[in-house]
C-alpha cells in the first residue's frame, strides 16, 4: 500500500512537472542546441551546410575585433549597471522608506512604469531629437549661456548609449529592490535606531544586506539585457560603436549564420559565467 502511494506521488510529481519541462525543452533547450550545432557548420555566400569544423570559432578568436567588441560590451554593461543600481536603489529606498502611505507608494510606483506603456525602441529614439546638434538640450544650454558651441558628444556617442541603457533598464532594478525593501520588518530599523545607529549605519548594516537578493535580481536583469542588446547600441551610437549583439546581427544580415551562431555561443557562455560569478555573492534561493 505504502509503496503504491509513493509510486503514484512520484508519478504525479513527474506529470506535474512535465508540461513546463516540455515547453522548456521545446522552446529553450532545443533552439540553443541547434545554435550550438550550427556554430560548427560551414557557409557559402548564400547557403549553409552541415559540417564539423572549427573555422567559425577560429576566426572569432583570431580576430582582434572580437576582443575589442567584448571589452566594449563589458564596458557598457558595467557602467550602465552602476548607474542603474545607484538610481534604482535610491528610487526604491525613497518609495519604501520615505513614502508613508501604501496608496502613495503604489501610485508613485505605477508612475515609474508609465514609460513602459510605449515601446522600447520609441523611448530610445526619442532621445535623438533631444540630444542632437540642434536638439533641445543643446539649444537650451546655448540660450542659458553655458556653452557657445553645441556639444557634439551628446548624441551618437558612448555617452548616448549608456544614457539610453540607464533610461531603459533602471526600472528593472527598481522593481525587485522595492519588493525586497517592502518586506523588511520596520521594527528592525527601529531597533537599530534605539541601539544608537546613525541613518547611514542603518543603511549599510540593515537595509543593504536585507535588500541584497533584490539588488542581485535587478543586476541580473540589467546585465543580461545590456549584454544581449544590439538595437540600442546601433541607434544611439549612430552605428559607430559595436557590441557583441551587433556583431551577431551583422552576421545574420549577411547570411553568415554559422559565424553568428558561434558568436552567440561565446556570448551565451560569457553571460552565464558573469551571472555565475554574481550568484556567488548572494544565494538568491535562500534569501527569497
Amino acid at each position: 500500500m505504502a509503496a503504491k502511494q509513493t509510486i503514484s506521488t512520484t508519478l504525479s510529481g513527474w506529470l506535474l512537472a512535465a508540461p513546463l519541462s516540455a515547453v522548456l525543452v521545446l522552446f529553450l533547450v532545443l533552439p540553443i542546441a541547434m545554435i550550438v550545432v550550427v556554430s560548427f557548420w560551414g557557409a557559402t555566400e548564400f547557403s549553409i551546410f552541415p559540417a564539423f569544423r572549427m573555422d567559425n570559432y577560429e576566426f572569432l578568436f583570431r580576430s582582434s575585433v572580437t576582443y575589442s567588441v567584448f571589452l566594449k560590451t563589458f564596458m557598457f554593461t558595467i557602467v550602465s549597471w552602476a548607474f542603474c543600481l545607484v538610481i534604482g536603489f535610491t528610487v526604491a529606498y525613497f518609495l519604501a522608506f520615505h513614502v508613508r502611505t501604501l496608496t502613495w507608494q503604489i501610485a508613485l510606483f505605477l508612475l515609474c512604469t508609465i514609460p513602459f506603456w510605449t515601446s522600447n525602441v520609441i523611448r530610445m529614439i526619442s532621445w535623438v531629437p533631444f540630444l542632437g546638434r540642434n536638439g533641445i538640450a543643446n539649444q537650451s544650454l546655448i540660450s542659458m549661456g553655458l556653452i557657445d558651441q553645441p556639444l557634439e558628444w551628446l548624441l551618437f556617442s558612448d555617452f548616448a548609449v549608456v544614457l539610453a541603457f540607464v533610461h531603459l533598464y533602471t526600472l528593472f532594478m527598481v522593481v525587485p529592490i522595492f519588493n525586497t525593501m517592502m518586506r523588511i520588518d520596520k521594527s528592525l530599523l527601529e531597533a537599530a535606531r534605539d541601539a544608537g545607529a546613525s541613518g547611514f549605519q542603518i543603511l549599510t548594516n540593515v537595509i543593504i544586506p536585507l535588500a541584497k537578493p533584490g539588488i542581485m535580481i535587478g543586476s541580473i536583469f540589467v546585465v543580461t539585457l545590456v549584454m544581449g542588446d544590439f538595437i540600442t547600441v546601433r541607434f544611439m551610437s549612430g552605428s559607430q560603436s559595436a557590441n557583441v549583439g551587433r556583431l551577431i546581427a551583422n552576421d545574420v544580415a549577411l547570411l553568415r549564420y554559422p559565424s553568428a551562431a558561434a558568436t552567440s555561443v561565446v556570448l551565451l557562455i560569457t553571460v552565464l559565467i558573469t551571472i555565475g560569478i554574481m550568484l556567488r555573492f548572494v544565494n538568491i534561493r535562500k534569501e527569497l
Binding site: E45, F46, S47, F59, S63, V65, S68, V69, K72, V128, P129, G132, R133, N134, G135, E152, L155, F156, R234, S237, G238, S239, Q240, S241, A242, R246, L247, N250, D251, A253, L254, L255, R256
Partner: protein
C-alpha cells in the same frame, strides 16, 4: 504544389466553355487594357507574391495591377540584406523577386529563380542598352562593378551560367535604376563641392556620414579613395584583398579621427541625419534628397567629376512558378514595361527600363524636368501630389544621358566578398 489545381482548372474551364467563351474573352479583354492572353475569370483568383526593397515595392503599383490586370499582387518590402537572404533561402515564400543586379549575381546560382523568354516580352527591343549590351550609346564605355548586362542573361532555361550576349533568356527584367552620388546641404557648406574626396575632407569633421550596407558602402569608399588619389583600382567592383585592406584602412583612420557623425542603414535614417543638420555631406539615395527637400530644407544631389555609382533592379521569377501563375507573371512584366509604372517611378527621380513608354504617362513638363534635364515650367509634384520643385528648377546632374552616361561603377558583389564583409565589420567596430 498548391499551384497544380489552378492550372488544371484552366483546362476544365476551357473544356466547359469552349470556343464561345474565347470569343467572349476577346471582347472582355478590351477592359483589361490590352493584355488579353489569359482567362479573365481565372486570373482574378491568382495571387502573386512579390518582395523586394522599398524603392519599387509600392502599394500604388499593387492597386493598379488589380485594376488593370485583375489579379492580386502582394508586396513585401525589406532591406537589401533581408532581400538577399529571402531570395537565397526561402524560395517557396515568393513568386516574384524584385532584386538588384548584384543580388542576382549572388542568388542566381541557388536555382531559385527561372530565366525569362525574351520573345514573350513585348517591349524587349525598347529596353535601354545598358541592360542588354551594357552600353547606353554605341560609343559608351562599360563601367566597373556588376554591370547589369553581365548578369542579365543566362545560356538557356535552367542554366545557372551567365551568358555574355543577348541569349534570349533574361534573369531579371530591369525595372528601375539610378545614378547615385553624394548628398550635401549647400546652405551649411557654402561652397561648391566637386569631388568624392570631399567626404573625408577634415573641414566636415563630425558632419559626414556613409551608409552601413557593406556591399554599397565599399563602393562609395572606393570612389572616395580613388578621387583622393590614394588608390588606383583594377576594378572597384571586384577588389583584391590588398585593395580592400587599404580602402577600409583609410576610412578606419578617418572614423577614429571623428570624421563621421553616424552611419545609416535605412532610408529614413539618412533623411533625418540630413534634415536635422547632424550631417552635411553623406552617401544618399535620390528619393531621400526629395524627402529632405519636401521639408523645405535645401539639399542637393551633387554631381561629382569622378562620375556616379549606379545601381539597377529588376524582377525575377521564382522557379516554382508555372501554369497560369507564370502566364500572369509575364502579363505583369509586360504591363510593368508598358509605361504606367515607369512614369510613376520616374516622377520619383528613378529611371524606367523603357523610358519611351513612360513618356506617355508623364506630362511634357515632367518629362522635360526628370528625363531631359530641362528647366521646369510649372510646379513639379511627386506621384502623391506633393510639390517638390517650383517652376524654374533644374534636376541635379541634368538629363538622363548626362547622368547615366557618367556611371563610374555599378553596385557589385566581389569575389572576395566574405573577406570584405569581415573587414567591414572591423570598420564598424573600430
Amino acid at each position: 504544389m498548391t499551384r497544380k489545381p489552378s492550372s488544371t482548372s484552366i483546362g476544365r474551364r476551357a473544356l466547359l466553355k469552349g470556343t464561345a467563351a474565347t470569343a467572349g474573352l476577346a471582347i472582355g479583354s478590351g477592359a483589361v487594357t490590352g493584355f488579353p492572353t489569359i482567362w479573365a475569370q481565372n486570373i482574378k483568383d491568382v495571387t502573386l507574391r512579390q518582395f523586394g526593397t522599398g524603392v519599387s515595392n509600392l502599394n500604388e503599383v499593387a492597386e493598379k495591377v488589380k485594376e488593370d490586370l485583375g489579379f492580386t499582387l502582394e508586396m513585401t518590402a525589406l532591406d537589401s540584406d533581408s532581400v538577399t537572404q529571402r531570395a537565397a533561402t526561402q524560395p517557396k515564400s515568393f513568386d516574384i523577386a524584385d532584386i538588384e543586379y548584384w543580388i542576382c549575381k549572388k542568388v542566381w546560382p541557388t536555382g531559385n529563380l527561372q530565366a525569362m523568354d525574351t520573345s514573350k516580352i513585348k517591349n524587349y527591343d525598347k529596353i535601354v542598352g545598358i541592360f542588354r549590351t551594357g552600353k547606353l550609346n554605341p560609343g559608351s564605355v562599360i563601367a566597373q562593378g556588376t554591370a547589369p548586362h553581365t548578369v542579365g542573361f543566362v545560356e538557356g532555361p535552367g542554366s545557372t551560367k551567365f551568358a555574355d550576349n543577348e541569349s534570349g533568356w533574361m534573369t531579371l527584367i530591369p525595372t528601375i535604376y539610378n545614378a547615385d552620388t553624394l548628398g550635401i546641404r549647400p546652405d551649411l557648406i557654402g561652397r561648391p563641392i566637386e569631388t568624392w574626396a570631399e567626404l573625408l575632407n577634415p573641414e566636415f569633421k563630425g558632419k559626414a556620414s556613409i551608409l552601413d550596407i557593406s556591399s554599397i558602402g565599399i563602393m562609395d569608399m572606393a570612389m572616395v579613395c580613388e578621387a583622393m588619389g590614394e588608390i588606383t583600382y583594377g576594378d572597384k567592383g571586384n577588389m583584391t584583398k590588398e585593395e580592400i585592406d587599404k580602402t577600409i584602412g583609410i576610412f578606419t583612420e578617418a572614423k577614429n579621427n571623428g570624421q563621421f557623425r553616424a552611419f545609416w542603414k535605412s532610408f529614413d535614417e539618412s533623411v533625418n541625419l540630413m534634415a536635422s543638420g547632424e550631417v552635411v555631406i553623406q552617401s544618399m539615395w535620390s528619393p531621400a534628397i526629395t524627402a529632405v527637400r519636401s521639408k523645405g530644407i535645401p539639399c542637393v544631389y551633387q554631381p561629382l567629376k569622378e562620375g556616379y555609382r549606379s545601381w539597377g533592379g529588376g524582377i525575377g521569377l521564382s522557379s516554382n512558378l508555372s501554369g497560369i501563375e507564370l502566364d500572369a507573371a509575364y502579363e505583369y512584366i509586360n504591363w510593368y514595361l508598358d509605361g504606367w509604372v515607369g512614369g510613376f517611378l520616374m516622377r520619383q527621380g528613378y529611371y524606367s527600363a523603357v523610358p519611351e513608354t513612360s513618356k506617355n504617362y508623364m506630362s511634357e513638363d515632367e518629362w522635360g524636368y526628370w528625363f531631359e534635364g530641362k528647366e521646369a515650367k510649372g510646379d513639379i509634384t511627386s506621384p502623391q501630389g506633393q510639390v517638390i520643385e517650383k517652376a524654374g528648377a533644374v534636376r541635379d546632374g541634368g538629363s538622363f544621358e548626362e547622368r547615366m552616361g557618367r556611371v563610374a561603377c555599378w553596385n557589385a558583389v566581389m569575389d572576395e566578398n566574405q573577406y570584405m564583409v569581415g573587414k567591414w565589420n572591423e570598420f564598424i567596430a573600430a
